[in-house]
Amino acid sequence: MSVWFVPRDAAARSMGADAVAAALEARGETVVRNGSRGMLWMEPLVERADERHGPRVGWRNMTADAIHLALPNDQSEQYVGAVDELDYLARQNRWIYERVGITDPLDPDDYVAHGGLAGLKNALAMSGDAVVQAVTDSGLRGRGGAGFPAGIKWRTVADQTPQPHAGESPSADRHKYICVNADEGDSGTFADRMLMEGDPFCLLEGMTIAAHAVGADRGFVYLRSEYPDAVATLQAAIWIAREQGWLGDNILDSDLCFDVEIRVGAGSYVCGEETAMLESLEGRRGMVRAKPPLPAIKGLFGTPTVINNVLTIASVPSILARGAEAYAALGQNRSLGTQVFQLAGNIAQGGIVETAFGITARELVEDFGGGTRSGRPLRAVQIGGPLGAYLSADKLDVAMEYEALIAAGGMIGHGGVVLFDDTVNMAEQARFAMDFCVEESCGKCTPCRIGAVRGVETIDKIRAGKDVTANTELLRDLCDVMTHGSLCAMGGLTPNPVLSALNQFPEDFASPVIATG
């Protein structure tokens, strides 16, 4: 009796996966709602196996109407054959994403059967200190963009004494927290979302290991409201994990007591900045806090707090399961392990590519991505979200790792790669970068609050041909003030896309009418 796999991932659903699943169920077929394999241009990618854990064959871009084709005839034009053998997957090295697309994300048995909990079990057999050491040895760095070594952050928190909440009497309960930043607001990134929808237990397991390592008792996942499916799936996973004894008191019969809650964002990009996220978690305006104090020392409610990105925490179970050394053997220079790259925008084969650091942007764009979706020439690639620089198509041989990208004037950010074909107007993109900052600035610091508005206005003047030389100089001065004067990365990095556009594509800034100086 065959089993059908239809992804429940939001991207698959956005292309009609639910209707396909319903059609199969209507025919009396057994359907498992798995996560997405990450080959998003194929969604809905429907798979069939002869038995639950057997090898699977797939049909791409399936629709409810076409499902009858798949049933009798394996050779329809949507048939892709053995899914695991597809080049796009076979060339990857999946650690974080090892189960995504394979398992039913909310089936705890499936999770364990595919290697889940191995990391946590190993961790619980070690001291917290030893776990911190293993994470340090793995070379794992923050996947949110800043790339701060996770082990050092954990060490700082581990060394703190738990504290009562700010303003509570000294006799009140004392806490440390694990906060996961799942406010994945960067355009072109979706790996956090797919992990939470496709393997939520992995995130919970990683948080639990972190709690054991630093002595935390409670965890929060700050998850953006734009991801309702991720919220629902992760919430269900939390309930199931509690039932399984994977969260709560005496986890896996150890002394560890730890529980996790979701906090849903409310429409603020800045809340992806860690201190703004803390403010938001405390129920306040998501205004950036000045540092010091570091969150690791005075974080959520004034207590020592680990703040890591979803992918950082989700890397931890496999590091603990397969060993720090094996992880550190991947990657290059100071960028060790794997990164989950996300290929997006005007791309033929968009999706998830997990591979060791060091792959070039060109390999990602061309070999995996297959060039633009439109078929037109590639003009620019934006790496690392709305605050990342634009790279012109001739600069794609850069290695995808933290330092190499910085050297190339960009940043790896959260690993998103967005392609633009030659119809793009880069002055418009520069204007958008400033405008995005206008929309999303928290308003605390002056360079960001007023500067972004002036940035839009000044770009408009340049594009309209008004005092182009003077206004271009003014725009550069403004970018300097924003870069060096802003309180956080929002204002501080907005000049990245603006200046990269201005520097590499000056022709787009020339007035369509007259360009007098």
């Binding site: 303003g167 610091c445 360079p447 007023i450 508005v453």
Partner: protein, 934 residues
């Protein structure tokens, strides 16, 4: 470094704005600011360290009474070995750090930031009320901004309207630079949280409550936001009207017992504004709506500035020259003295007057009148404090300075409402509560501290009025029987015999919370929990007010609190103590100055031969060794015809003293009533001589606040009456045959110091040097005594005194089933003579009666209805407000408006030891009334 200069932190002028608050650490770190070496406590910001060496870094969002915020980005600096340009306000100094505050790169960035600010700011400096007093203007100059290249056509806030709803200040959003200083001041300093930033990004704007006009918002008009504003966005209306001030005089507020220091800012002889003094020992730069804004009464048209006399109270007043008024008064008093003897006259001093003014009045009574018939309005508020603390600790004053509260782990507030009646101290207390101290409130009413934004009392013992002693005994019972007594402290510091007697008394079952629950209305478990919280906190402090003293057992209660503090070792260090919150600005001082009929200056009994001899010698007269009459005894004797003349300095006994009918009958019966006051008050209706008084803006002298802090009151303007009050008193004394030839107020203080061991070191010169000083100030404590009883109690060993609970005679009955209790609200002050003559009336136009819903329903009364309130003593009318702040069976009102006639219904029950009136308990009945009184 070759240009290193060593800098001496002691040379820092602390009146400057150093940008961020000081750090408290014993660890010092050494940093180099532009090559100058400075050593600062760990945690000090780079900005502050730089300001200390005079390298002021441009700033707009930073100010040293608010936590660093890091928003304006003008204060960027470069630090050797570090990337980027961190904000100096949020960067702490680290050992060896080398900071550069002025570099070409920084100049460019700062200019760029400033250019952004000015691109969204009106260009109306010349006509702006803050011209010359604007930090934005200063900073534009400091960074050398010359042009704004963005032009003026961009998006901006210049169209934003002006909010003029608050009577004292305007909010002009078009000038706002969104530095959040006002919002932070409202939160961090005042603790009201009435302001926020609404919206975000470029749309961010300051919002009172829900973007309401200030007057309709949660704002309490303390002025902290106006003070904090670096531009003319929040601006005093008086400055807009009169212009930027040209000279300044430091002085002391004349309202409550907090005694805030202010800088009066003037143009010529006209006050433009009162700004709280950052270096004020009591207020550290904070203020409330009264001191900050409600000083206009001093120039009010109702004020009388000419002496007046009349033969009989039926006659019209006759304005006369000072000489004539003095001669008139002296002749009348001398005549009574000749006819009826010295016991037939007396005087009352005022807690609104300076120490020097009070001193000369009591001296006049004792030396010129020849009697000890002198009393003070403190009789009706804090006399039990003097009695109770003297018996137990040996001195009639609170034990701590205000700053001590910042070290308390548990705070017990009994019968006090600091956020309304002592708001500046209330804010300080709230800051400590927000930081985590536990709060125990003992009060029949849910005062604001019980629950208000970001503050919640862990324990509220909502007792029935009149049962304070029972509750305190129950608390002490728990402490004694649950092993919570600090045996070591008691053994070392207290009189053991008195302790054993107290302990065996307090352990009696009659004092258990379970036994007393029915009497007090407080569940036993709540008492036990509160007792444990107090005893085990670490540092536990008691703050109390008139809700303690104005009871038939006021003195007993003061002693009960003293017992509790001693038994738990909560005396003699920071963060603990027993602290009265005094009603008026100079209650402490008027008591210190020998205003009580049984004591000379410094609380020394008139029967003490040595002391009396000393005063006799200096004053050159023989003095009586027997106590004189207290106010109620004077009034009784007046009705009996044996007391016929009185000099009343700045007190309106016809309104403020209980049982008004009795008071007016007594006043009517006298041959000579001399009233010295700013206004023709209620008492003046019965006076024969009216001597115009001076407002605090005209006084030269000292006030002593609730923490024993002696503050200078400096004349901001010349006396509107032509004489200082002490000069008028001296003139009268001289006219009666006893000259007091002082040349200045300072000379009076010198005499006080010479005669009073606790004041021996006090002089105007010392006060001008130190700013203020807390007595005792003498050879042992040349700079004063913030915390008392440190090594030993003033009386030697602490004296425990048993405090049996004796219920008041004033009990609810079938005829008068409700208990009325009274209090103050923030915007008004006492009988309202001052505040009613200011715009503060917009917040409190009338007194209302708070009543519990059940009691209202039972009487068919709805919210807003007029009712008649009747007691055994009388009846008055008021509007009601249904409130759940009070329990059923209790009603509550304020007494700020004479029309309310609250004291028409208060009885003449009083404290057994001091006769302090029992204002806080009156059995009453409420009936619906058709209309308001005429």
């Amino acid at each position: 470094m070759n240009m290193v200069q060593q800098f001496d932190p002691a040379q820092v002028d602390m009146s400057r704005d150093l940008g961020t608050p000081g750090a408290h650490s014993d660890v010092m770190v050494n940093v180099f600011i532009d090559g100058m070496a400075v050593s600062v406590p760990e945690g000090t910001s780079v900005m502050r360290a730089a300001a200390m060496v005079g390298a002021d870094i441009p700033k707009l969002c930073a100010t040293d009474n608010l936590n660093a915020f890091g928003s304006c980005r003008l204060c960027l600096v470069e630090i050797e070995g570090r990337p980027g340009t961190p904000a100096s306000c949020t960067t702490p100094c680290q050992e060896g750090m080398a900071v550069h505050t002025q570099t070409p790169r920084l100049d460019k960035l700062r200019k760029g930031v400033m250019e952004l600010y000015i691109s969204d700011h009106p260009l109306d400096c010349l006509t702006c009320p803050a011209n010359g007093d604007c930090e934005l203007q200063d900073m534009a100059g400091a960074v050398g901004l010359r042009t704004v290249r963005y032009g003026s056509e961009g998006e901006n806030h210049l169209h934003k309207g002006k909010d003029e709803s608050n009577p004292y200040f305007t909010f002009d959003a078009s000038k706002c630079i969104v530095c959040s200083r006002c919002v932070r001041a409202c939160s961090e300093v005042q603790g009201t949280f009435a302001l926020t930033i609404a919206g975000r990004g470029f749309g961010s704007e300051v919002s009172p409550s829900e973007q309401q006009p200030f007057l309709d918002s949660e704002c309490v008009s303390c002025g902290a936001c106006v003070q904090a504003c670096p531009t003319a966005t929040l601006q005093e209306k008086s400055v807009i009207e009169l212009g930027v001030p040209s000279r300044k005089v430091k002085t002391t507020c004349a309202y409550c017992g907090v005694g805030c220091s202010f800088v009066a800012e003037l143009r010529g002889d006209e006050v433009v504004r009162m700004v709280p003094d950052k270096q004020g020992g009591a207020n550290a730069g904070h203020s409330c709506v009264k001191g900050r804004f409600a000083w206009g009464y001093a120039q009010h048209q109702d004020r009388v500035t000419t002496p007046m006399v009349r033969d009989s109270i039926e006659d019209e007043w006759r304005p006369v020259a000072w000489d004539e008024a003095i001669a008139f008064a002296a002749e009348r008093l001398n005549q009574i003295k000749a006819t009826h003897g010295v016991d037939a006259i007396g005087g009352i001093t005022s807690s609104r007057c300076t120490n020097e003014e009070v001193y000369v009045v009591q001296k006049m009574v004792r030396a010129a009148f020849g009697t000890n018939n002198v009393d003070t309005c403190a009789r009706v508020c804090h006399s039990p404090t003097g009695y109770g603390l003297k018996q137990t600790f040996g001195t009639s004053a609170g034990t701590q300075d205000f700053a001590s509260v910042e070290h308390a782990d548990a705070i017990m507030v009994i019968g006090a409402n600091p956020t309304d009646a002592h708001p500046v101290f209330g804010s300080r207390m709230k800051r400590r509560l927000r930081a985590g101290a536990d709060l125990i409130v003992v009060d029949p009413r849910a005062i604001d501290l019980v629950r208000s934004p970001h503050i919640e009392a862990e324990h509220h013992l909502q007792l029935l009025p009149g049962t304070n002693v029972a509750v305190l005994n129950a608390i002490s019972h728990v402490i004694a029987t649950e092993g919570l007594i600090d045996e070591a402290f008691v053994a070392e510091r207290c009189d053991m015999a008195s302790f054993r007697a107290w302990e065996s008394f307090i352990r009696l079952p009659e004092n258990s919370p379970e036994t007393l629950a029915e009497v007090t209305g407080v569940p036993a478990e709540a008492v036990r929990a509160a007792a444990r919280a107090y005893a085990t906190a670490g540092n536990a402090a008691i703050y109390y007010g008139l809700g303690v003293t104005e009871h038939s057992q006021g003195s007993t209660m003061v002693m009960a609190m003293a017992n509790l503090a001693m038994a738990t070792g909560n005396i003699g260090r920071l963060g603990v103590g027993v602290n009265p919150l005094r009603g008026q600005n100079n209650v402490q001082g008027s008591c210190d100055m020998g205003s009580f009929p049984h004591e000379f200056v410094g609380y020394r009994h008139v029967s003490d031969d040595t002391v009396r001899e000393q005063f006799s010698t200096v004053w050159g007269v023989s003095l009586r060794e027997e106590p004189g009459k207290r106010i109620p005894n004077m009034l009784d004797a007046a009705i009996s015809g044996t007391f016929r003349g009185i000099y009343i300095q700045g007190e309106d006994i016809a309104q403020s003293d209980p049982n008004t009918q009795h008071v007016t009958a007594a006043l009517k019966a006298m041959d000579c009533v001399i009233v010295q006051d700013l206004f023709l008050n209620e008492t003046a209706q019965f006076a024969h001589v009216f001597l115009p008084g001076t407002s605090f803006l005209e006084k030269d002298g000292t006030f002593t606040n609730a923490e024993r802090r002696i503050n200078r009151v400096r004349p901001v303007m010349s006396s509107r009456t032509g004489l200082s009050e002490w000069e008028a008193t001296c003139a009268l004394s001289e006219a009666m045959g006893y000259p007091m030839p002082y040349q200045s107020a300072s000379e009076i203080m010198d005499e006080i110091a010479a005669l009073t061991p606790t004041f021996a070191g006090v002089s105007f010169e010392l006060l001008d040097t130190l700013g203020s000083v807390q007595w005792p100030c003498n050879e042992q404590a040349p700079t004063g005594t913030p915390i008392m009883h440190k090594e030993r109690f003033v009386r030697g060993e602490g004296q425990f005194i048993t405090t049996p609970y004796v219920p008041t005679d004033e009990r609810s009955t079938r005829k008068f089933p409700l208990l009325l209790t009274t209090g103050r609200i923030l915007s008004q002050y006492n009988v309202g003579a001052q505040t009613r003559r200011t715009d503060n009336v917009v917040w409190h136009a009338e007194d209302v009666l708070d009543i519990h819903e059940a009691d209202a329903e039972a009487r068919g009364v709805k919210d807003g209805d007029w009712v008649e309130i009747a007691s055994r003593a009388g009846a008055t009318r008021m509007r009601v407000r249904i409130s759940d702040d009070i329990p059923a069976g209790v009603v509550y009102t304020t007494f700020h408006h004479p029309v309310s006639g609250t004291n028409v219904i208060t009885t003449d029950n009083s404290d057994w030891a001091t006769n302090c009136p029992e204002y806080k308990v009156t059995a009453v009945e409420i009936r619906p009334a058709a209309e308001q009184p005429a």
